[in-house]
């Protein structure tokens, strides 16, 4: 606490294949930004400032997954320049929505999407940062939760373990006093197998959980999938609910393959 290391730890924020939403979560910490700037030196954060402080960095926040040959090289440089590396969000932690390519043919995609696919240099897969370099901490979510981000940074500054539970969304939902959308409305919800952290946001608005924080530590996806079928969801759709932002996370990838067939093995 009072023995805060001086000078302030240097923070860097890096972007790989992503939508920038998780970086924006950092910028959205409006009430805490001044305190944050007091606790760490924001040394590299192109989304916020052109000013660049040369590395090495004490902690790097990495957003996005690795989808190109050049990014495959760049993540090695980021790792080499970082004392601690924290991935932020579903892309960096599980491959993101773009990991849907892992189950399909990328050349087919590029031939449809781009007028000149020959200019596209991309990998067959979108992979999490941990598939390439050692990662010190993974923060879930699409996007990440502001409070969890601040908690992870505070934990780093204070040299303690972050307080981030790997329990299910249901725990947060029940603490919040929300009526269960599955039990009371028959709405399909991935909350029981999804990692907490969002505060059970969607069920609070009578919507099922999309699983954007990826699998909880205890996820029993097979049992939930059985229940979704009971609720009347076609098997193909059951497979698809597990193929969104965290499609390539092992627990969700295995479950979706059970319903959609093994179109292609998940590359990790």
């Amino acid at each position: 606490m009072s023995d805060r290391p001086t000078p302030r730890p240097r923070l860097a924020v890096w972007k790989f294949a992503s939508c920038d939403g998780c970086q924006l979560t950092l910028l959205n910490c409006e009430d805490e930004l001044l305190e944050l700037a007091g606790a760490v030196e924001i040394a590299y954060f192109p989304e916020a400032t052109r000013a660049v402080v040369e590395g090495p960095y004490d902690v790097s926040l990495v957003e996005g997954s690795v989808t190109t040959p050049s990014d495959r090289e760049r993540i090695q440089e980021v790792r080499a320049a970082s004392r601690r590396l924290v991935t932020i969000g579903a892309c960096a932690t599980a491959g993101g929505i773009q990991a849907l390519r892992n189950f399909a043919d990328v050349e087919e995609f590029t031939s449809i999407v781009y007028a000149h696919p020959e200019y596209i240099s991309t990998l067959d897969t979108a992979t999490p940062i941990s598939a390439h370099v050692p990662v010190d901490y993974e923060l879930r979510g699409c996007p990440i939760d502001r409070a969890q981000l601040l908690e992870v940074i505070a934990a780093f500054v204070q040299r303690r373990k972050p307080r981030v539970a790997d329990e299910s969304v249901c725990m947060e939902c029940k603490r919040r006093g929300t009526v269960c959308v599955t039990v009371a409305h028959g709405t399909p919800c991935l909350g029981p197998v999804t990692h907490a952290g969002c505060g059970a946001l969607c069920p609070a608005y009578d919507r099922g959980c999309y699983g954007c924080f990826g699998p909880a530590g205890t996820a029993n996806t097979a049992s939930l999938a059985h229940r979704l079928v009971d609720l009347g969801m076609p098997r193909r759709d059951v497979g698809r609910v597990f193929r969104t932002f965290n499609a390539a996370s092992p627990a969700f990838a295995e479950e979706s393959a059970r319903h959609l067939g093994s179109e292609q093995e998940v590359a990790r």
């Binding site: 606490m1 009072s2 805060r4 805490e32 305190e35 944050l36 007091g38 606790a39 601040l150 940074i153 505070a154 500054v157 204070q158 307080r163 539970a165 790997d166 329990e167 299910s168 249901c170 725990m171 029940k174 603490r175 919040r176 006093g177 929300t178 009526v179 269960c180 599955t182 039990v183 009371a184 409305h185 028959g186 919800c189 909350g191 029981p192 197998v193 009578d206 909880a216 530590g217 205890t218 996820a219 029993n220 097979a222 049992s223 939930l224 059985h226 229940r227």
Partner: protein, 386 residues
């Protein structure tokens, strides 16, 4: 204490009861309809109550249904129980800050979801009243009482209403906890729907008598008491579930390695819903919320669950890593070890763990499955409740 003589009150009398409680400084809570379910909420008038609503509850499913009468308490167990009123899901225990003059600590608790105590709870069922008694034992009557709980509990005014229309997941009769409360309340009401819509009322405490005296009532007639008995008899005859509790503690201790635990583990989501909705589950964790500067901290207590891996995390790892070990821990604690620990079962038969389980795991069915094919008795294995 012995119950006072029964009286009856009509809907105007019920409104007067709500008013009197409000005038006495209580935050009055009662059943309300929100988001397709009967849940606790603030109640200022009879019109706030779920008039004409009933429910249909089965394992994994809860639905409101329209009744063909104007019953105000015609549902079974509320979809969200009363636990959070006296035992909030998140409670600030204390906060502290470091300044030039040292460390300053300020006590909690923070404001509650349900407004400021003291609370008057209108419509708490007998099953939940028994759960409050379990919490009293666990939280307030042991060597180190929880002062926040004890204060809220001491000041709370509890109005129980006999459960006249149990649901498909109710089994209070098996657990000896209902459908009519025999103690632990300030006022007990039975809703009577034959002829004039009225309530048979009894005081269960001096406070209850004083409140009742301020309400316009009439002495109960024989007909009122007979009808009240019929409400209870109807409820007893319409329990959705039953659990044979004969020798249950030993049965579960003897069957710690029963293959049924693997079966239920294949279905269990480890989501923790059963423990969150259980009116007696009391496990909590404490969290420090520190500011980035490290100068301020808040010490929060939050509901925890034995279904998370963090719950049994000791140095180096979690003790209960398999769903099998977690479900067995919960059910064996609830129905067996609880008896050794607190002198009573931890289950009050409210059925919420069945209704709220997304995959409909039924604790009565799990007990019956083990009872149907029990393992051999282990005469000397009952010393521990692990």
């Amino acid at each position: 204490m012995a119950d006072s003589r029964p009286v009856t009150l009509d809907l105007e009398g019920l409104q007067r009861l709500i008013d009197v409680l409000g005038e006495q400084g209580f935050t009055v809570l009662g059943p309300t309809v929100r988001s397709g379910a009967v849940v606790p909420g603030r109640v200022g008038s009879v019109a706030d109550l779920p008039r004409g609503w009933g429910d249909r509850q089965e394992p994994g499913s809860y639905r409101l249904r329209r009744r063909d009468d104007d019953a105000l308490f015609g549902y079974a167990a509320d979809a969200i129980g009363w636990k959070a009123v006296l035992f909030p899901a998140r409670e600030l225990m204390w906060s502290g800050s470091v300044g030039p003059d040292g460390f300053d600590v300020r006590p909690g608790p923070g404001p509650s979801t349900y407004g400021e105590p003291p609370y008057a709870v209108l419509g708490i069922r007998s099953c939940d009243l028994h759960a409050v008694a379990v919490h009293d034992r666990v939280l307030a009557e042991r060597t180190y009482a929880d002062p926040h709980y004890a204060e809220r509990r001491r000041d709370a005014f509890l109005v129980t209403v006999v459960c006249g229309d149990p649901s498909g997941t109710c089994f209070c009769v098996s657990m000896g906890t209902g459908p009519r409360a025999d103690a632990g309340y300030d006022l007990a009401l039975t809703e009577l729907l034959d002829g004039q819509h009225r309530f048979l009322a009894r005081a269960g405490s001096a406070r209850g008598e004083a409140v009742l005296a301020a309400v316009d009532t009439r002495p109960a007639e024989d007909r009122d008491e007979e009808e009240s008995e019929q409400v209870v008899a109807h409820a007893v005859a319409h329990m959705g579930r039953a659990m044979d509790t004969t020798g249950l503690r030993d049965l579960l201790y003897d069957n710690a390695e029963h293959p049924r635990w693997d079966d239920v583990a294949s279905r269990c989501l480890s989501c923790g819903n059963c423990t969150m909705v259980c009116p007696t589950c009391f496990c909590t964790s404490v969290e420090e919320h520190t500011s980035l500067s490290g100068h301020d901290t808040e010490h929060w207590r939050i509901w925890d669950s034995c279904f998370t891996t963090d719950f049994s995390y000791l140095h180096g790892g979690s003790v209960r890593t398999s769903p099998r070990s977690r479900y067995r821990q919960w059910m064996t604690h609830k129905l067996a070890a609880w008896i050794d620990q607190f002198g009573t079962s931890g289950c009050v038969g409210c059925g919420r763990c069945l209704t709220s389980c997304p995959v409909g795991i039924d604790i009565t069915e799990e007990v019956a499955a083990i009872r149907a094919a029990p393992g051999p008795r282990k005469e000397d294995a009952h010393a521990t409740g692990r």
